[in-house]
Amino acid sequence: MFTTMKYLTILFIATFALASCNKVEEIAPEDVTPEVTIDTATQTLLLSGDFSGSSAHPSTTGKAKIFIDANNNRTLVIENLKVDNGPDLRIYLAEDTAITNFVEISNTVKNGTNSFAIPSTVNLEKQKVVSIWCKAFSVSFGNSSLVKP
């Protein structure tokens, strides 16, 4: 009942209001997260997992792997990713699929195989879910829960 009244009121306001131009909010371009190149043959595989799609984007596929080198530099490698196009997609490492305590790994998402440096702040004992997340609209495009190989 209140929802109906609310819509009627909004309609009433809109009817009496002057038409105004709608300014489309554009997502401000940000610096693109640099990708890294690694030779996986010389590194140790720590964790890996397959991507599965979300309810909104079920077709996401691919594989996520985390490697560590002799200097303890960690790298996220996403292989053969196939994900729907979307605005403002991000790659997060989080504790779960609800992206609890996430850390942003990349502010761009590309299909195919790409590698990203993992910040030292990431705790791989807890943050073991790679999430592809649409920040603008709070929608998951897929997740990969990483486990030891």
């Binding site: 009244m5 009121t9 909104a56 504790e95 699929t97 609800a98 997340w133 709070s138």
Partner: protein
Amino acid sequence: MKKITAYTLALLLVSIFSFAQDKNTTIIDASAAFGSGFSPSLGITKKWGIGSKGRFKIGTGVRLTNFSGSNIDFITAPADLTIDEANLDTLRLGSAAVTYVAIPIHLEYSFNEKFDIGFNIDVVGLTFGGEQSGTFAASQSASLNNSTQVGSPTSPNILLVGDNDRGSLNSELYARYWATEKLGIRAGLSFQFIEYTTNRPLTFDNDRFRAKLMQPMIGISYKF
């Protein structure tokens, strides 16, 4: 001819003036809603009659609303998240207390001099209130489920479409009986959104949580 024109103009002005006085009113409303909590409000409204009889009125003004309650559940608020029930988590605040001032819009219909029905809703406003702590229930987050979180009232407030509303908003659906020429009594339902923002993002990068509360309401009105 000049006299007729002058008389006609004078008659027209007098009739418009008296007509306007009859159709347009300024009212102070004081009300209290109770149930899930306690919510007094105080507002002043200027209403303008529409149509030849002015029975349908539209108005605006200023309204101050306070809400206080215990053990109130605040659910994930952003519209982007509420479209999927799987995204909904709950912040239960042991004590919620907000005060908000808003500009509402009023729609009212007068059946006769004694009896009105009406609806009003806050359009924009500001909310004040202190931090509150509560328990966060999140089935998809092992580390945040049952954790203690702190939130503050969301401000500013704005009425939008669907779940895109932001902040705390009051609305009332009521009937009014004018006991005297100046004094009326109102009864109806109050529907409020009360919103808190946590001091950090929780699940799904969200920090906004909203309670939707429908409570019976009674009040008095004074017409100037």
